[in-house]
């Protein structure tokens, strides 16, 4: 007699199925670029075998900031205040430096109200993946210009944008970020590879992902529209991520070594990002080149994608502050409260 086994989904290294990395159903507009990114986060977490309880999700306020509810439903999450996710993540990762923090923000959330916090998070090297779902518009408040809107862009109610746009990757590099990447929500493969590399990074990893708003900013003229993105995206490299030590190793993603030149960037945990150079010759360890490239691209109104800048990680905030290696939240009471003797001695010095 033969038994037909119950069909089961593919299980990853953590013993979980892909569906277990999903969140509640999205309430964003159908076709919104933000949903594609949520999907990539789900795939990345499944592929890498992340333990959901080790992941914390953060966001500010905006359509983009709603998305942490839509992925990794069994991880703790915190949808905080407009522009102030960096401070929440700073405190939480200081409290517990063993958590893998994934933050999702928007271009309004990061580039305007939260610009100061964004820059200071980078400066402090808060260990987190900081994703900007950049649609060049305020989605949730219905279509105002954001600081990343293109100069000269036209919007239905707000006329023409007279101001130059801010490049959040450029700002990150100047601010001392050690991992800066740009991608396009429609480019599943590249988003995935960059997300995986960001997980392996220790420190702030900025991912600015162009993510079209199909409701308020899908004018083909806008360089954050889907059509424009598809046409004008200039990938720097073809990227593959080769898993290392951070998460249980799975089989290697094989790549085709045949075409083009290859460079490998070693991540903190021993994994590699393998970059296959295409048209341009970009070594992501060259800061001045990265800045120049972005500047040039901004003038040409193209956006280049890939790992723009990478540097050996510097100390993360808890290290800078001489905090213990184990999480502060794991300290026993004996280490939290000095002894009575210590207090009595101290009192003597005030007499």
């Amino acid at each position: 007699m033969t038994t037909t086994p119950k069909p089961v989904g593919k299980v990853n290294a953590a013993g979980l199925e892909r569906t277990e990395y999903k969140g509640v159903p999205s309430t964003l507009c159908p076709g919104c670029g933000h949903d594609s990114i949520s999907n990539q986060i789900i795939s990345m977490a499944f592929d890498m075998g992340l333990q959901p309880h080790n992941v914390v999700k953060f966001s500010g306020i905006g359509c983009s900031s709603k998305t942490p509810a839509y992925f990794l439903g069994t991880s703790h999450g915190f949808n905080s205040l407009h522009g102030r996710m960096p401070s929440i993540a700073t405190g939480a990762t200081l409290a517990n430096n063993s958590l893998l923090a994934i933050g999702v923000s928007g271009d309004g959330d990061t580039g305007s109200i939260g610009f100061g916090q964004y820059k200071h998070m980078i400066r402090r090297n808060v260990p987190m993946i900081y994703i900007i779902e950049n649609n060049g518009v305020y989605g949730l408040t219905k279509g105002q210009f954001s600081a990343t809107s293109d100069e000269g862009q036209k919007l239905k109610y707000y006329g023409e944008n007279a101001l130059p746009s801010l490049d959040l990757c450029l700002e990150a590099i100047i601010g001392g970020c050690t991992f800066v990447a740009r991608s396009f929500s429609g480019d599943a493969k590249q988003v995935q590879a960059l997300l995986k590399a960001a997980v392996a990074h220790r420190g702030t990893a900025v991912l600015d992902i162009i993510s079209p708003c199909v409701t308020f900013n899908n004018d083909p003229q806008s360089n954050k529209s889907y059509d424009y993105g598809k046409k004008n995206e200039v990938p720097l490299h073809e990227i593959d991520f080769i898993q290392g030590g951070y998460v249980p190793a799975r089989e290697e993603i094989t790549v085709d070594y045949a075409e083009g030149e290859l460079i490998e960037v070693k991540m903190h945990d021993g994994s590699y990002v393998r970059l296959k150079k295409l048209g341009r010759d970009h070594d992501p360890r060259n800061r001045a080149r990265a800045v120049g490239l972005l500047d040039e691209a901004q003038r040409e109104q193209t956006f280049i994608t890939g790992l723009l800048y990478y540097e050996e990680p510097r100390p993360i905030l808890s290290e800078t502050l001489n905090a213990p290696e184990i999480p502060l939240t794991a300290l026993p009471e004996a280490q939290l409260r000095p002894t009575k003797d210590a207090l009595d001695k101290l009192m003597q010095s005030f007499m």
């Binding site: 914390v56 069994t74 703790h76 949808n79 401070s87 939480a92 999480p327 009471e333 939290l336 210590a342």
Partner: protein
């Protein structure tokens, strides 16, 4: 006779009689900010304290780094009173810019110490002048020229010591303390003190009636500022994260944390078990502690009014999303930048209701350095027990001045983490209830159970948001969900009001007049009640120590024919809170000052006598 005169009659000794007045007068040192007078004044205060004399020093300083006038009052009181006095008997007039005013303010028979170099002459015949040749005396010292300006103020320390009686060896000890036992610095200053002391002995025969005499009233006591006390309390309270942005008068609280952080250094690893971040602003400072509190840290920030203004949105979020954190507000005078170096109790309404929508924040109201220490550690327990922000409302007077106090009592209870479920407790919870919902009231006290990120259990997570949510922490825009949650939050605060630090009450059923107050009016009220009592007005007293108000406040008010709510803000904010909660407050009168200075007993007595 006007009320104030009656009060004066009670308080002033018989200066005219020529009888010595011992340990019962006030010295005011008028100097220029940044001139080094802070050291001189601290040394005098510390020396008097070491002589066993009850003493209190208050710094009235300008919002300026160098050059503007500053006054420091030193009150000695054999009866142990520490409130500010409206007058001083002795003036150290070391600032030409304010000298005329400082001399004019002296009472008849007052004493004026003034540099002889100014050649100001003696404009008043009813006071006693002692002229000190500051330049000449400084010339005799070996002080390097660049330090002469800063150390010049030590001249008046020597003169005060000689004229009113402080032994030189006590001054030297106080100097050593002041300079962290560094002998070289102490010697340099002492040299000036000694020269001035000897010159005074030889050249200025004593003509006034004021004297210090050793007592035994400070034995076993400590002298410390409220901010240092709060810092120590926080360190003994298991604080693991502090985030702050500099602002007077709260900065010295975090300075205290940094000064004593070594108490929390792990001897084995050399690591600090408390992380202190100087944030980019108060928006970030509170964000960091809310994030840290959410992740399971015991987190604190310290600020003042302008910072509290920036923290409003996060305070509302933390209240609504039920995240523990502690916020010290060392209150200064607002609105706006206001008088940034003057004291106030003007943030009580704002802090209690901080956040848009319907919020009622827990506030602790320390009045003494002992309470600053106690609330320092207890605030974390309260924050975790109620899963809510806790505001500790101190003020500039308590925070930045040195106060006598009893040595601090070691925390009487072990650290309380409230209803926080770890992996095993969560497992037990599921076994008992078959579920766990983040915002569900399982115990009928409005306080739900929480988990900490990183808890290794497949059902430990929940999603935190400032948007409407169900008891399962899922998003909801249903008005029934909203209202149910608000009812639970209200219940939680109603439970808290009876369990937070309860009012201090001095009650006797025979007395018909009640005084209600909070915080640093304490010393003025204590003294005023004694004067009132001596003149036949007996009062009961209740000091509120937390918000929301305990029901005993309502009871106390109902027990009296007349109740005065005394506070140091302009609008009578506590009295507004009381009126909001009580039906019949016709017999309640608000005595609200808010004049930028610590309250005096004189003001209280005159106000109450006006009303009787």
């Amino acid at each position: 006779m006007c009320a104030l005169n009656i009060a004066n009659e009670v308080q002033t000794g018989a200066a005219n009689s020529g009888e010595p007045i011992v340990n019962d007068f006030t010295i005011m040192a008028a100097t220029k900010n940044g001139s080094g007078s802070q050291t001189s004044n601290s040394v005098i205060v510390k020396s008097l304290f070491r002589m066993g004399i009850p003493v209190n020093g208050k710094n009235l300083f300008p919002s300026n780094i160098k050059g503007l006038p500053t006054w420091y009052s030193i009150r000695v009181s054999k009866d142990g009173y520490t409130a500010r006095r409206p007058h001083n008997e002795i003036a150290i007039v070391f600032n030409q810019d304010t000298a005329a005013e400082d001399i004019a303010n002296l009472p008849p028979d007052g004493v004026c110490l003034i540099p002889a170099d100014w050649k100001w002459g003696q404009s008043r015949s009813d006071i006693i002048y002692y002229e000190l040749p500051v330049k000449e005396l400084m010339a005799k010292t070996e002080i390097p020229a660049d330090l002469k300006d800063r150390i010049g103020n030590m001249v008046y320390v020597g003169a005060v010591a000689q004229l009113f009686g402080i032994p030189l060896e006590i001054i030297y000890e106080a100097l050593l303390d002041n300079f962290n036992r560094k002998e070289k610095a102490a010697r340099l200053n002492y040299n000036v003190v000694e020269i001035a002391y000897n010159w005074t002995a030889e050249n200025l025969p004593k003509r006034d009636v004021y004297r210090f005499e050793k007592m035994n009233e400070t034995q076993g006591k400590i002298m410390i500022s409220g901010n240092e006390a709060g810092a120590l309390g926080s360190l003994f309270g298991g604080m693991t994260v502090a985030a702050w942005y500099p602002i007077t008068p709260s900065t010295s609280l975090i300075d205290g944390v940094l000064d004593y952080k070594h108490l929390r250094r792990d001897a084995e690893t050399g690591k600090d078990t408390v992380a202190v971040v100087q944030a980019e602003d108060e928006l970030a400072a509170i964000g960091m502690i809310v994030g840290a509190g959410w992740a399971g840290a015991r987190a604190m920030t310290s600020t003042s009014g302008p910072g509290i203004s920036l923290m409003a949105e996060f305070a509302g979020l933390a209240y609504f999303a039920e995240i523990p954190c502690v916020i010290w507000d060392i209150t200064r005078l607002g609105p706006s930048t206001g008088l940034p170096t003057r004291t106030s109790q003007g943030d009580v309404l704002f802090a209690h209701f901080l956040g848009h929508g319907d919020t009622k924040q827990i506030c602790l109201l320390p009045a003494t350095v002992e309470e600053c220490f106690e609330f320092g550690w207890r605030s974390f327990d309260i924050a975790e027990e109620y899963q809510a922000p806790v505001f500790v409302l101190s003020d500039l007077d308590l925070g930045m001045n040195n106060w006598m106090g009893e040595p601090f009592t070691y925390p009487t209870e072990s650290i309380k983490r409230g209803k926080t479920l770890d992996k095993i407790q969560l497992e037990e919870f599921f076994a008992k209830y078959g579920e766990w919902y983040r915002y569900k009231d399982y115990d009928g006290d409005g306080i739900p159970y929480r988990t900490i990120p990183g808890t290794d259990h497949p059902r430990a997570s929940y999603f935190t948001r400032g948007t409407g949510h169900t008891e399962r922490a899922t998003y909801s825009e249903k008005s029934s969900d909203w209202v149910a949650n608000m009812h639970r939050l209200r219940l939680k605060m109603d439970v808290a009001r009876e369990k937070l630090p309860q009012p201090f009450i001095d009650y006797n059923a025979d007395k018909k007049v009640g005084i209600v107050s909070f915080g640093t009016n304490e010393p003025a009220i204590h003294e005023a009640r004694n004067w009132l009592s001596a003149k036949g007005t007996q009062t009961n007293y209740l000091r509120i120590r937390s918000l929301p108000l305990a029901s005993s406040v309502h009871e106390f008010i109902n027990q009296h024919e007349k109740v005065y709510i005394i506070e140091n803000n302009f609008d009578g904010q506590m009295s507004q809170i009381i009126r909001m909660e009580m039906n019949d407050t016709r017999h309640v009168e608000s005595l609200a000052l808010g004049d930028s200075l610590p309250m005096t007993p004189d003001w209280i007595v005159s106000k109450i006598w006006e009303g009787n």
